[in-house]
Symmetry: C2
Subunit: 406 residues, 2 copies
């Protein structure tokens, strides 16, 4: 199940970036499950990673490699997370890198490994190693949809973003793919996201952009409140476009690229939510009027995580009592409930500590029947605001997660 | 759905306490939905209440009345929470008290009102007021099961506790009833719990016991992480047994009564969990080895609230990867994953940052197929420990909450 239609977009090539996916048969014979990115020399790569204490072996290796040498390849497998696999997991992730290094003539440290899938099973190296030569040969500028499909697990559709900027006669492309449908409450990034541009961007600026964009996108979505062990979001700049290096001093060009990079992250984060496990609704929880951003997030997540609200959304039931209950238990100190106003889309449902005088159940039902719903909360205490995107909770969610692994 | 069998226990009378339930037809004609407790003069009453900022009108009135005058009556309606009902809600709760005061000759402030049910609908006073004379007439020492049934909403069964202590030839009884099946993550008490003894206990000691017992019971259960607007837990001491007043200086008698009062709270809290909405499993999450109690609670609630773990429990799937992921994102600073040990009942599943060497899937499945499962987590950092009780997440949970109100 997923919310609405989501045709995979037409992807412009990113100069200096080739990619593909091949089939190693990790979970199912024939399914493409190993993705390779090949980056031109001179590319910069930045990333943000899960803050789960049990971070997966590839996350540990990625962080180590990013600090050591310029990155030339990314290798991603779906079907196995290589998480909670101890020393063997680290060795397996490094063995994958070593094999690509041997085949391509770069150093092991120039390769970033990623894994997504079931936790706690050993990585099936014997299946992955043999398909790496094919992946190296097949990588091409038009492999984006293949790659977007290859990283999927319980996703029902590949997620992509492509946009171009023209600046002083030069065309810059910003592309991205992402995957994720469950165990989604990223504290860093979604399960996996890859955003790439052929602009030239310094490492420092790239890292800062990666963090800022993830905080405005993947770090504001939640499907089930579960932060994965493998969340990784990577931002690549190949530097192949003939324009000077972008820094914060670049003025208009910096602003344009920043805007599109953030748009790419937000688009992919929202695409993950609309493909959330069992999702029938795309829900925006917008909290404003907070004394600070933390209390806006506390209220937003209380609403977004409440199983009672999520099941009411599934039922298209404008059960506003559950929304105010969640606001009330979010832990905001000295909250004056009489100042809170809640709208469903544009319909005022709560004011003065109770149901709005103008509200009728019929108005609420019109909104709740839509596939895309906004819960707009004004705390009436200040000027801080935060937005979180989430889904409903359906039978299908239970089915998917009660059946997964079987 | 509910876990296991739960026959309502045989209830010994509590001297000085009469109760009953009558039918006001609040939600359905013929259903008993108004409960009255009548307390002998000289009774002491203590209580703990929800910390939800949107606390219900009766909670506000209870707190006010408890501070004003000795309590003589409790009146509880199910089917309507009288929450988020503004000034009218307060007026309605007080009108109910005023009517009982008029009929019985006590002061309005000597009555505690409680409501449970749907949030945001006005209290149907016109249905409640007319049945109060019948309730006053019908109250009797053996009305416990009637009362336990009358306070139910989505509960599938009434929950009761009764135990006696013999001390110096005198028999002391401790009874309790409680209700609650959804919107259960009390931050104070369950939806509604009433524990009563005929021992003589001073107001100060009673209040301290009420708080301690709630913290060890109702404040350690969670079904869906939603803290209700109406949670109230009341502890009554009628003082009718011919023994001196119990204080902390009473030695053995104090310890005996304290023990049984805590046992009553824990029994009722666990009964609420095993009757959790859609529950097919009763799950104990026991966290030890913490540096402090807060981090044990953070880990316990992360595990108890994870929809991925709850659906795996529903599927009897020993998906330990989801358990370690939840421990990892619980927010414990500087957690050394290599020191963590996790047992399913007595089966060691996780050590040294991954699956235990001795663990086999078959061992895990034997435990997971049981209706009563313990997830035992040792953080290996200190001596603090906390226990939380919860349920799985089933299709039935979604069905109940998607259908409620309809």
């Amino acid at each position: 199940m997923a919310v609405g239609e989501y045709p995979f977009p037409k992807m412009h090539p990113v100069k200096g970036l080739k990619l593909t996916s091949v089939s190693a048969g990790i979970k199912r014979v024939g399914r493409k499950d190993v993705v390779l990115f090949s980056l031109a020399e001179g590319s910069n790569v930045a990333g943000v990673f899960t803050q789960n204490a049990f971070c997966a072996a590839p996350v540990t290796v990625c962080k180590e490699h990013l600090s050591k040498a310029p990155i030339r390849f990314l290798v991603i497998n779906s079907g196995n997370a290589n998480a909670c696999t101890g020393e063997q997991g680290i060795a397996d992730a490094k063995a994958t890198c070593a094999e690509i290094a041997k085949l391509s003539g770069v150093k092991s440290e120039q390769i970033l490994p990623f894994s997504t899938g079931v936790i706690g099973e050993p990585l099936p190296l014997h299946k992955i190693i043999p398909v790496l030569p094919e992946a190296l040969n097949a990588a091409n500028e038009n492999g984006w949809e293949d790659a977007g499909t290859g990283i999927m697990t319980t996703d029902t559709r590949a997620k992509g973003f492509s946009q171009q900027i023209v600046y002083q006669g030069q065309t810059i492309t910003v592309n991205g793919i992402a995957k994720g449908a469950g165990m989604i409450k990223p504290n860093m990034a979604t399960m996996l996201g890859y955003i790439a541009t052929d602009a030239k961007i310094s490492q420092a600026v790239l890292q800062q952009l990666s963090k800022e964009a993830a905080n405005k996108s993947f770090n504001r979505i939640t499907i089930d409140g579960d932060t994965s062990t493998n969340d990784s979001c990577i931002l690549i700049a190949t530097g192949q476009v003939s324009l000077p290096e972008v820094t914060q001093a670049s003025g208009e060009l910096y602003e344009k690229i920043r805007e599109v990079i953030i748009a790419a992250h937000v688009h992919l984060a929202k695409a993950i939510v609309s493909d959330g496990e069992g999702a029938t609704k795309f829900v925006t929880v917008a909290v404003k009027g907070g004394a600070d951003n933390n209390e806006c997030l506390a209220v937003g997540y209380a609403v977004a995580h409440s199983p009672l609200i999520k099941t009411a959304l599934f039922a298209s039931d404008p059960n506003w009592g559950r929304i105010v209950a969640a606001i009330g238990y979010a832990g905001v100190k000295n909250l004056d409930v009489n100042k809170i106003r809640v709208h469903l889309d544009e319909v005022l449902i709560v004011e003065n500590g109770g149901r709005a005088k103008t509200y009728t159940e019929e108005q609420g039902q019109v909104v709740m029947k839509k596939a895309d719903i906004a819960i707009n909360i004004d705390l009436g205490r200040g000027v801080a605001a935060e937005t979180i995107w989430t889904t409903d909770l359906s039978y299908e969610y239970v089915k998917i997660n009660a059946d997964y692994r079987s």
